[in-house]
């Protein structure tokens, strides 16, 4: 089988990439999705809050996905459902398996990785106590309630204040479950401020910051958890622990980009994001393989995922058509001299996190001229390492400040974006652009 652009994953990132690829003139565009339906995680996100940025209206997850499914279908995107990709190779081949088609190899003009992310499980946390039934990651519980139609329990505690956990606090409350507490080990919440308000405060659900679950009780089924404040080394202070009876514990302790396929393919990953290192065209270190959405870094809003996907899809279409940057990839940084023909003139600059910045995306940018499908603006997404107030977000290169932005408040749970004029970027090879967050000098 052959396709011009193959998109792995039919969630919001993959759908946007496929639509954009079609719009950019790609011939055959194929989405490979492991589930029986498109939409990724969105079909189980039956709450509202999606699409405010992209559509200018508030939609539910299934509605948001539905609009892109319609667009993709009318654009002529093809789908393989219930199909799991087993392998992606650097020579742009995708090996997948499905009950209908068996083992299939697809030769691709370009590949877009859009596998999304997964939840951090409990095992890695090694909480003392028993191993009863009744402990779920928040997303698993969401699937059980919203898709399978079964409710895990009657009384719940949520460990971690990630957005999925907060949404589930409200969802379970609406199901008649008593949500006793949300417990967060950090001194600041992991989810969006709006979710803290709408999912916890509006329902009088207590949020314990600087606390953790110190022990799990119950033999066959969860009977309760001990909760305790933590010291500076995040070790629970057991003298101060108390018992909360509950039959359900949800874990919302972080999301990890799903990059088993990328790693096996030899794509260079950024330890800070857990996702591939990408250019501003969302191209990875393997030429012709692009990535977008939560597989690159975990986003707060689906709208941003869609934006990523649009960029990746357009760039992948251009690549498949033989235009733009053949043979570059992120590997061409610092004058690696790879590439062929005219395209070898294309070089990459590097973008690095500076003071109080945990990561930046993209980590590379195409120097000299406009990227395919984009204009003069280079958008950098970033997350701060620590919460801070009255700060300046600064983009600089070669001792020159390119952009300054005042921020009243920044926190790790909320992604920031900053735009830079490409023409202001230095063009010498090996240039490093740094993004930092510093205190505002009064």
């Amino acid at each position: 089988m052959r396709a011009d652009v193959v998109v792995i994953g039919g969630g919001p990132a993959g759908l946007a990439a496929a639509v954009a690829a079609k719009q950019a003139g790609a011939g055959r565009v194929l989405i490979i999705e492991r589930d029986v339906r498109l939409g990724g995680i969105l079909p189980q996100c039956i709450h509202t809050g999606f699409g405010v940025r992209w559509f200018g209206e508030e939609l539910t997850g299934p509605e948001y996905a539905g609009r892109f499914v319609e667009q993709a279908k009318s654009a002529g995107v093809e789908f393989m459902l219930e199909t799991m990709v087993l392998e992606v190779t650097p020579d742009l081949r995708v090996l997948a398996v499905s009950p209908r088609d068996g083992l299939v190899v697809v030769e691709c003009g370009a590949i877009v990785l859009a596998m999304g992310c997964r939840e951090r499980p409990r095992g890695a946390l090694a909480i003392p106590g028993t191993r009863p039934a009744g402990i779920f990651t928040a997303g698993t519980a969401q699937r059980l309630v919203n898709i399978e139609g079964v409710l895990p329990g009657r009384r719940a505690v949520i460990l971690g204040s990630g957005d999925v956990g907060l949404i589930m606090a409200r969802r379970l409350t609406l199901e008649g479950v008593k949500v006793e507490a949300v417990v967060e080990i950090m001194t600041y919440p992991g989810g969006l401020a709006r979710n803290i308000q709408q999912c916890l405060r509006d329902f009088d659900i207590p949020l314990y910051l600087g606390h953790t679950v110190s022990r799990i009780h119950g033999r066959d089924r969860l009977e309760g958890v001990s909760v305790a404040p933590v010291d500076d080394a995040w070790v629970p202070i057991t003298e101060k622990e108390w018992f909360i009876p509950c039959d359900t514990l949800l874990l919302s302790v972080g999301l990890i980009p799903e990059n088993e396929l990328s790693a096996a393919c030899g794509i260079e990953l950024d330890p800070a994001t857990g996702g591939p290192i990408v250019t501003d065209e969302m191209e990875t270190s393997v030429p012709g393989i692009f990535a977008c959405g939560n597989v690159v870094h975990v986003h707060d809003l689906v709208d941003h995922v869609t934006e990523d996907g649009m960029v990746a899809g357009a760039a992948a279409a251009a690549r498949a058509a033989g235009r733009a940057g053949a043979g570059a990839g992120t590997g061409a940084v610092a004058g690696a001299g790879a590439g062929a023909g005219d395209e070898s003139r294309r070089t990459l600059g590097e973008i690095r996190p500076g003071l109080n910045v945990r990561y930046v995306v993209p980590q590379r940018f195409v120097q000299g001229g406009e990227r395919s499908g984009g204009g003069r603006i280079l958008t950098i997404s970033l997350r701060p390492s620590e919460p801070a107030e009255n700060v300046v977000l600064e983009v600089s290169a070669a001792g020159k400040v390119l952009r300054r932005q005042r921020k009243e408040k920044v926190r790790p749970s909320e992604m920031l974006q900053v735009n830079v004029d490409r023409l202001a970027l230095p063009s010498e090879s090996g240039v490093v652009v740094t993004v930092s967050i510093t205190e505002r000098k009064v």
Partner: protein, 637 residues
């Protein structure tokens, strides 16, 4: 060849089947099985029978001449107890009981294997470290010493016959100081007297050459090349499967409630559902062996459980060591080990802590600290950062220093196999032989059964096959193309096969297939496995458990408020909603059934309900439930 699923019917259903006149010829080997019959179902024949209160149907499509794989003796419980006649009843389907059952299956005997948990290996065996010990730890002259060395020697054959992964990776006991070198020498001598082959004393350089990951403080080591690792629960499952394939009856979920005696001789064993009339009882009840003894009036020993905590590390660091690394032992245990498992992980542990609670499976902060401090002393690069799972198990240690393998002095016909702590896993095959000998000496007539087949067909592991093999497999059986667990690449066909082989719970599927054992720890596959269990076992998703009764996973209907159409859910409304949800999931048309039933908005429990509910959310906010949900202020970012 498309495998048909095992059907499990209740008694009414069987009666219904009988009324249709679809009886057939008997195919069950054992004459004590009442009422076996054949019924045509589609184009296949299915054998059905009633055993000990369990009703089941066996599929014979796949294997026309013999029945394998289907441990289909669990299912609908009958309220009346059934009487079963047996020659030997074995109590306890841990690795020891399972090995005994398979050993006795070599003879022309009616053997019943009774287990309190819903699946085999769900007690001590599940949490075993998986080390096949070389045999230098035990005092010469003890049962532990001789059975360990004999058992070890049997492992190559057993693993090959049963298709269980086993590797002789060697055991290495390390001395961390000059004082400890003396202890190594003692163990070297002890091992030689026990008959451990190939023992060698290594100096520091030799030891580090063998294991570059060892700490610089290691001054010497004792190396036993015959040491190995095996997966303890895979071994137990395989033993039980092979025993069943050779005619043994397996009764799971059947705690023994009493043992009947007459004139000081065993007559029968009673469980809530069955009375097993038998003259011979093997007590392999592990943590509860003393209680089984007491039921027969024999209180000659006491079980004193000793807890061990284990920590499993990611496969990423799976090559930290090649051999199993031991410290010099403490008076009560072999100490905390660094074990490369057969699956490619590293396991560190176990602790050794006496406890009175026979169900205490808690891990503790103290245990965690002890394990990592001890393991890092020997292998410094072991790190708690790599933990992917932690658990605890209970050793069935006892009031005597050695294994207790002997006929009861109080109840004739009862044979104890108790106090089987380490090296019990290693010794299990040898213990099984010894028990067979004891039964023969005590007067049980044992004639070899010609039809005994020692081979248990290997389950297919899709992830381990070549691409060409995978392609052929999917072409012949589409369910191999449906990946259920993406971390370990486990297919639907493998999950269904695990259920055919006896899995009844999410943990049972996990331990057999590895679905849920990967880096996401079941976050993705658990709802999918629950759905397959529900379908294959013919039970609602709500009734699927993690590891048996009491460990239900998601027992309530969701969207109860919508369904009940009331602001508050009272008990009645809840019951109503539950009944309705059951009806919905039973007939599989959730939403429509709910509407037809006229009990408010659709919110069906069945698959397919979700999208309708989700898309309709906005409309239905009017009915009062989701109103608060929408009315919440939104801050457009």
């Amino acid at each position: 060849m498309r495998a048909e699923r095992i059907l499990i019917l209740d008694e009414q259903a069987v009666t219904r089947e009988k009324r249709t006149g679809r009886s057939g010829r008997e195919i069950m080997r054992k004459s004590y099985l009442p009422g076996p019959l054949l019924v045509p179902s589609c184009s296949t024949f299915i054998a059905t029978g009633l055993v000990a209160g369990w009703t089941f149907l066996y599929d014979t499509t796949a294997r026309k001449t013999r029945i394998t794989g289907g441990c289909g003796l669990q299912g609908t419980r009958s309220t009346q107890s059934t009487t079963v006649k047996a020659d030997v009843a074995i109590i306890g389907a841990g690795v020891v009981g399972a090995a005994i059952a398979r050993e006795l299956a070599r003879y022309d005997l009616r053997v019943v294997l009774i287990e309190r948990e819903v699946e085999a290996a769900f007690g001590t065996s599940k949490a075993n470290s998986g080390v096949v010990h070389a045999g230098f730890h035990s005092t010469p002259g003890t049962l532990k010493a001789s059975l360990c060395v004999h058992g070890n020697a049997m492992f190559d054959d057993i693993a090959a016959e049963l298709s269980v992964p086993f590797r002789r990776n060697g055991c290495l006991m390390v001395a961390m100081s000059r004082d400890e070198v003396g202890v190594l020498r003692e163990h070297f001598e002890q091992g030689r007297r026990n008959g451990v082959p190939g023992l060698r004393l290594l100096d520091a350089d030799e030891a580090r050459k063998l294991e570059p990951g060892l700490a610089p403080e290691v001054v010497a080591a004792l190396y036993a090349p015959t040491g190995g690792v095996v997966c303890p629960y895979q071994l137990t499952f395989a033993l039980v499967e092979n025993a069943i394939a050779n005619g043994v009856t397996f009764m799971a979920g059947s705690p023994v409630t009493s043992i009947h005696l007459r004139d000081g001789r065993v007559m029968a064993v009673e469980t809530p559902e069955a009375i097993i009339e038998t003259a011979w009882v093997v007590n392999a009840a592990g943590l509860f062996a003393d209680r089984i003894g007491a039921m027969a009036g024999d209180e000659s020993f006491e079980i004193r459980p000793r807890k061990g905590e284990e920590y499993l590390l990611d496969k990423r660091v799976g090559s930290l060591v090649r051999s199993t690394v031991f410290p010099v032992p403490t008076p009560v245990s072999k100490g905390i080990l660094v074990i490369p498992t057969v699956d490619g992980n590293i396991m560190v542990g176990p602790t050794a802590e006496d406890t009175r609670d026979r169900l205490d499976l808690t891990t503790t902060r103290a245990g965690f600290e002890a394990v990592f401090a001890a393991a890092r002393r020997m292998v410094p690069s072991v790190s708690p950062r790599d933990i992917i799972a932690s658990f605890a198990g209970l050793r069935a240690a006892c009031s005597e220093d050695d294994f207790i393998i002997r006929p009861s002095r109080v109840a004739r016909g009862l044979v104890h196999v108790a106090g089987i702590e380490s090296p019990g896993l290693t010794a299990a095959p040898a213990i099984a032989r010894m028990v067979a000998e004891i039964l023969r000496e005590e007067g049980l007539e044992m004639r070899a059964r010609r039809a005994f087949n020692p081979v248990r067909p290997a389950p297919v592991r899709f992830a381990h096959l070549s691409r060409a093999q995978q392609a052929r497999l999917v072409a012949s059986e589409p369910a191999f193309g449906r990946i259920v667990c993406r971390c370990e690449t486990v297919t639907e066909a493998e999950v269904v096969d695990a259920i055919r082989r006896g899995a009844r719970t999410v943990d049972g599927v996990k331990l057999r297939t590895r679905a849920g054992m990967g880096r996401c720890q079941g976050g993705f596959c658990m709802p999918r496995v629950m759905r397959i269990l529900s379908r294959e076992l013919g039970i609602p998703v709500k009734q699927v458990t993690k590891r048996g009764p009491g460990s239900v996973i998601a027992p309530y209907p969701a969207k109860a408020l919508l369904r009940a159409g009331r602001a508050e859910v009272g008990i009645e409304a809840e019951a109503e909603a539950e009944a309705e949800a059951e009806a919905c999931s039973a007939n599989g048309i959730g939403v429509r059934a709910a509407i037809k039933a006229g009990t408010g908005s659709p919110g069906g429990a069945g698959p397919g309900a979700d999208s309708k509910v989700a898309r309709g959310t906005r409309v239905r906010r009017a009915d009062g439930i989701e109103t608060g949900f929408q009315a919440a202020p939104t801050t457009g970012r």
